[in-house]
Symmetry: C2
Subunit: 152 residues, 2 copies
C-alpha cells in the first residue's frame, strides 16, 4: 500500500510531472542537464526531484561516466501503468515549452550523447535564438495561458 501512496505523492508536484512527461515523450534516455534545461529549473532541484521519482520506482538511471541518464521505469503492476497513463492524458499544451526546449536541447547532442553540461555556451545561444524566433507563451505567464486554454 505504501508503494501506491508513494507513487501518487511523487506525482503530486508540477516539476515531477513535467519530468515524467518529458521522459515519456522523449524516445531516448535523458541526462540531468538536459532535463534541467528543458524544464528551466535549478540543477540541484532537478537532481532532488529525480531522486524522489527514483525512490518511488517511477524512473531508473544508468550512469555513463560522469553523465547520468534517466528513463521511465517499466511498470510492474497495473497501478503503475494506469498512473503513467494518467500523466500521458494531460493535454500537450501544458508541456509545450518544455518539449520544445527539449527538442532543441537534444539537437545539440553528438553521436546521440549529451556533450553540453551545466553552463553550456552553445545552449545559451540556442535558447536566445529560440526566443527571437517564436513568441513564448511561457508557463510563468499565467494570464496568457489562462486566456488561451482556460487554465487546466
Amino acid at each position: 500500500m505504501d508503494d501506491f501512496v508513494e507513487q501518487l505523492k511523487a506525482l503530486g508536484d508540477e516539476t515531477r510531472i513535467k519530468i515524467i512527461r518529458l521522459l515519456s515523450e522523449a524516445k531516448v534516455d535523458l541526462c540531468v542537464c538536459e532535463i534541467m534545461d528543458a524544464i528551466e529549473d535549478s540543477h540541484c532541484n532537478i537532481s532532488r526531484h529525480l531522486k524522489i521519482l527514483k525512490t518511488a520506482k517511477l524512473v531508473k538511471e544508468s550512469k555513463q561516466g560522469k553523465w547520468v541518464y534517466f528513463s521511465l521505469a517499466t511498470p510492474k503492476d497495473p497501478f503503475h501503468e494506469s498512473v503513467l497513463h494518467a500523466v500521458s492524458s494531460i493535454m500537450d499544451e501544458h508541456f509545450f515549452n518544455d518539449s520544445k526546449r527539449l527538442k532543441l536541447r537534444l539537437s545539440l547532442r553528438e553521436k546521440e550523447k549529451c556533450v553540453d553540461g551545466l553552463k553550456s555556451e552553445k545552449w545559451a545561444r540556442a535558447l536566445e535564438l529560440l526566443a527571437t524566433m517564436v513568441p513564448r507563451p511561457d508557463d510563468k505567464n499565467k494570464k496568457r495561458e489562462k486566456s488561451y486554454y482556460g487554465e487546466k
Copy 2:
C-alpha cells in the same frame, strides 16, 4: 495544470485513497459517519480529508438535513478518469477490512438512509460481533499482511 497536480496531491495520502476506493466500491452515496466507521479514523479527520477531496473535485456532496452524503464526482476529462482507474487497479486485499466494515455499516441503514451517528451503540455491537466471528488481518497488523501478500 494546477488542477492535475491538486488531484494527484489529494490522492497522495492513504486515508484519502481509502475514501475514494470506498466510494467507488459502494453502490450508494455514503455519509461521513459511515466512511468514518469503515475506515476507523476520527470524525474530524475524515471530514477534513473529504474537504480536500472535494476541493480537488474528486468527490461531491449532497446535504440531507444534518446528514451529508458523499459520492465520487463524475470525471470531466481523461486525466480524471485515468486517475480514478489507477485507484481502482489497486488490489482488493488492501481494502479488505474497510469494505467489510462498510458492508456491515450499510446493513444498519433504514430505508436506505443512514440512521446511526457518531457513537452508535448498534454499530459498537455489530463491530464486536464481527471481531468474534472472523480473524481480522487488520491493516495495523503489518507483519501478518506482509507475510500474506508481500506488502504492496
